[in-house]
Symmetry: C2
Subunit: 254 residues, 2 copies
């Protein structure tokens, strides 16, 4: 693949899954072939895309009982496939720690099939444990959704240290794809304060596109649809379309 992007942040509820689903959908809408790997035991990315069949999943793939190509399913979105997940994936946190190649299980599992896609997007759980480390080791870059709230700032330096540690020890190719500000609420000054703080510290790493807080975004998963399909004209969809365009422009400059 041109890019394997891990969507990561140990702070909970910041928009990792929402960004994974909708960035993947928007990239597919721009004609790219995309694979979404649900690597959070909550399985929200699978549910948010309306995927019910989970017999083969990211847990059976890293455990070795399914091959990656058997676990791939088409989704309702043209050019977007998914490897769904089940809650049993949470057992991998402990099971992996006894294996010699424990950080490389995901990387090895998707090595062959990732060649069939231009983009692979990996949705991570809210932690920096073995699952997220696997995703960072398999990835070529990391995209960090950052909620425009005070607590969200606190964990950022720890996340960056973890990315650095993975780059130094497990995956020398790992780069920062960028930071995207999410759930920006124009009605409250806290959002603007957090946004300006992040732009001061991280400069060009922060996408110009900001995803606004928009109720249509949180309604879409209850219909098993990406918001880009549920309501293309809403501010949330327009933001994810703009984010995909900005990311593609960033690629063509690289």
């Amino acid at each position: 693949a041109q890019r394997i992007i891990a969507i990561a942040n140990q702070k909970g509820g910041v928009g990792k899954t929402t960004t994974s689903i909708n960035l993947a959908t928007a990239l597919a809408a721009c004609g790219r072939s995309v694979l979404l790997v649900d690597f959070d035991p909550q399985g929200n990315a699978s549910t948010g895309l309306g995927v019910e069949d989970r017999i083969h999943n990211s847990y059976s793939v890293i455990a070795g009982s399914s091959t990656a190509d058997v676990a791939i399913q088409a989704t309702q979105v043209p050019r977007l496939d998914i490897i769904p997940t089940i809650v049993d994936l949470s057992a991998a946190e402990v099971e992996l720690s006894d294996m010699p190649d424990r950080e490389f299980r995901l990387k090895m599992a998707i090595r062959r099939i990732s060649k069939q896609y231009q983009y692979v997007i990996i949705d991570c759980p809210p932690s920096l444990g073995m699952l997220t480390v696997n995703a960072l080791t398999a990835a070529t870059s990391v995209l960090v959704p950052l909620q425009c709230e005070f607590y969200a700032l606190e964990g950022l330096s720890q996340l960056m240290r973890t990315v650095e540690a993975v780059r130094a020890g497990l995956n020398g190719d790992l780069q920062m794809q960028g930071i995207v500000l999410t759930m920006f609420d124009t009605r409250n000054k806290l959002s603007a304060m957090v946004a300006s703080d992040v732009r001061t510290h991280f400069g060009d790493l922060v996408y110009k596109t900001v995803v606004p807080r928009n109720v249509r975004v949180s309604e879409a998963p209850s219909f098993g649809q990406p918001v880009l399909i549920y309501d293309l004209k809403c501010p949330g969809s327009q933001a994810y379309a703009a984010l995909a365009a900005e990311l593609l422009r960033q690629e063509s400059k690289a």
Copy 2:
């Protein structure tokens, strides 16, 4: 202690830390003696109460290098003490798994000092790993903050299964304290839908008090204050005061 309450939900960003800080503050305001244990490596509960000194913390306590009473600090709130935490606590997920008494480390560490308080509140990380299992094993009950959003419903049955498994194997006294609906947004019908769904399934387990989405709640941590101190009159503070009153009424009936 009369009650050791674990504030738990593996879904991220649902209001665990906000509920831990503000329920603890409201109980203290009602004259109860309260200890808050920050058991999430993000350390948001410690930050949200303005606690800077973390030399002794919940990690050093379960690792055995500090005793619990040395790690206790007073907070700005009368009758509310805290055991803060540091990010190194995340190492405990792996370190604990090699110890024979791994699920009981927190329970043993706070056994003596918890007698000095009427309530102990434990803020948990967004996962069902070793840290949350330790909290559930140390607790007499579990309070589940539930964000009024679609994805939040998805994890509830897994959480209840985990509570059941801990009750069956590690802590026969563990009860459900209740479920509190958080970030209820009167402007969108999704909140009302989720709330009615939860009340249908869980009946009296769901508190009558609902915490509304209220920007003052998310502003308070940036000042290192509970919202009850930052802005007592706002809807968020009023809700947490009502929640504490409802919980105390529940106790007097028990």
